[in-house]
Symmetry: C2
């Protein structure tokens, strides 16, 4: 039945397809997944924290009681009780969020894609932190914006720097809590100032918050969404507080934008798995996260302390690093002459891996930076791996 | 903590966002979901066919044995054993498909979005059937192509009409088995001729095949993919043979395109739920579909016959309809002067619903057409609903 001698296709891809690059991190992960490598490269949460039994019980419960509904097509915006739960959880500090503002997505990454689709034209100016989250740069790049890197310091974004570039920009993308890749957090004063600055310029502010609940001590910082629900777009995820493999996130947007995002979602994949949404609601509806998240905080906090102690012991003078109070990452700055990409080659030979910092910069990469994750590596291996890295760096100073 | 008197945002959406329209079908479904309405409007499979127990057992099995892996981030291209299963199932009639050509997607709709993203620039010529699947028109529209409607007859696409418009077009999108919306199928001779025509012009041919397994009698027709795996892009789905709410589909593409689609998928949502993929593989790996699909065929075939008999009995002369041998839809052509959109208003007053045909046309809608689905309506209600529609139509002739 095969046809004879077909002409080979001369593929003509879209201009946007020519922009597509694989995430450097996902490429590294392929190399570093061998068990003998001590990998600080991952951005994966620790499977030790996955509530497998609770998920199993919830799948059983949902399929036993409402299986036919859970397995049928569902509404594009998502499962209403879960959207209500999210709206309620975000209605604090005087803010009132309604479920109509909440769109369920297939992970936060899809929210980034939909926001790019709906807000970015070719050449649109898009403001991002220096450095910024690689997955966001990748999602937005498809729509061919002009990225503008906003200055940051040890406390994150400098609102004054936003002022200079705000007019005419389509959006500012920020990750205020335990940022990926730096682990930095915005102070409360900075948050207020940033929200005010964006509001003054009519600039939509995207608050991406996958790690906000993972503070090791004290209370979580107030969300910028609650300071101006008409100007802030909030992104949340169940990946870091429950499990990532189910792909469940959400975006909370002012109504005119929420409606556009819903239409874009409908064209993109109709809706996110009903079953998954019903199961997650079943798991979390009675306060499960209040009992579960403290365990994640404790585990990650201890491993972070182990890594910080090892860095102090093994890294030579001239190297600096962030001291995160939550989240999953430490950011290291080497002396200017050391290229982290080359260091990675040596590290892999010595069975250690990390992610070089350069890909996290939208413009003007600083090649002497790198990102370390401590969440999936046991303490003894953290000490071992940091000692090896310390020796490799010291040899170049 | 709320900031004072923020400026309201003057939303500046992307040009592509201005194209976004809600699917007319999904809007109708909202109206017609009241239980007192006899709805032939749905495109939903019958929940009576959902294998809830098998799914429940598989979730239990996967979470009990490989829960931590199933709940962790996974590869962008998908779960390898499932991709291997799909590749094997498609390697028939002398074709050899490898898992590297298979990308798992969040339903077929996402495959349409990714294909549009990677293949369509603004103004690109995209060839579609007359009429075509609304979800595809919606997904492709986002990328602002120029649609070219290819002529069809009772056996579907006319390959000779493709020849006239093939040069320079980016793709031809076809649904050869029990098409949505018409229920028509391409004959084997037409398939060969179509694949040869596309190959001669180097035109990528998308074969969308959600209903191919739902033939009421005889053997399924050969897939165009197997006639030229280097020129045909095949789309499949578990929505119609298992359940749609889990959102699991796939696209099989020649390697250069498969690689681009994978990169686009990575930026769009990283990957589709690992857990869902592992569960579906667990359900189907030992021949479950061979035992399950015949039950769906029998149910849908009987309800199709009931509707065809009712149409013969109740619809007046001057009205014609298709006689599908599989799938979920019958396509009705009214006398030219009757507008199906106006008929729908009357029908809803009389507690019956269907989908007017006009939105399925990329160009030059034929307003005297409509789509009927018989799969979720019990036989007695099918007869009742068709009798009511017949009276409403007869009154206008």
């Amino acid at each position: 039945m095969k046809i004879d001698n077909p002409n080979p296709i001369q593929w003509h891809f879209s201009e946007r397809a020519e922009q597509l690059k694989s995430s450097f991190i996902r490429e590294i992960l392929k190399i570093t997944q061998q068990p003998e490598i001590i990998s600080f490269a991952g951005g994966l949460p620790s499977p030790a924290t996955f509530p497998v039994d609770a998920m199993k019980a919830a799948f059983d419960q949902v399929l036993s009681t409402t299986g036919k509904t859970a397995l049928q097509y569902g509404p594009t915006d998502g499962y209403l009780p879960l959207r209500q739960w999210i709206a309620d959880a975000l209605s604090v500090n005087g803010a009132s969020i309604v479920p109509q503002q909440v769109l369920m997505t297939s992970g936060s990454q899809q929210a980034l894609d939909l926001l790019g689709k709906v807000l970015i034209d070719e050449g649109s100016r898009v403001l991002v932190e220096t450095p910024s989250y690689l997955g966001a740069l990748q999602a937005f790049s498809v729509y061919r914006p002009q990225f503008v890197s906003v200055e940051t310091d040890e406390q994150g974004l400098l609102p004054g720097s936003v002022t200079k570039v705000a007019d005419g920009a389509r959006l500012l993308y920020a990750l205020p809590n335990f940022q990926n890749p730096t682990g930095r957090s915005l102070s409360v004063e900075r948050r207020v100032e940033l929200v005010e600055t964006c509001a003054r310029h009519g600039l939509p502010l995207i608050e991406d918050d996958p790690y906000g609940a993972l503070n090791y001590k004290g209370e979580p910082s107030p969300k910028m969404l609650t300071m101006n629900p008409d100007g802030v777009i909030y992104m949340g995820s169940f990946s870091k507080v429950l499990t990532p493999g189910i792909r469940l996130g959400y975006v909370v947007a002012p109504p005119p934008l929420a409606r556009r995002l819903e239409l874009a979602k409908q064209a993109a994949d109709l809706h996110t798995s009903q079953l998954t949404q019903m199961v997650v609601h079943e798991v979390i509806k009675d306060g499960f996260l209040d009992r579960h998240i403290p365990n994640i905080r404790t585990l990650y906090g201890e491993q972070c302390q182990t890594m910080l102690a090892a860095l102090s012991e093994h890294f030579p003078p001239g190297v600096t690093w962030t001291r995160p109070e939550g989240g999953m990452f430490i950011w290291v700055t080497l002396p200017k002459h050391i290229d982290a990409m080359k260091l990675l080659d040596q590290a892999i030979v010595n069975k250690v891996a990390f992610v070089p910092g350069a890909p996290f910069y939208a413009n003007a990469p600083e090649s002497n930076t790198l990102r370390l994750s401590f969440v999936t590596v046991p303490p003894e291996r953290i000490r071992q791996g940091i000692a090896i890295l310390g020796r490799l760096i010291a040899a170049q100073i």
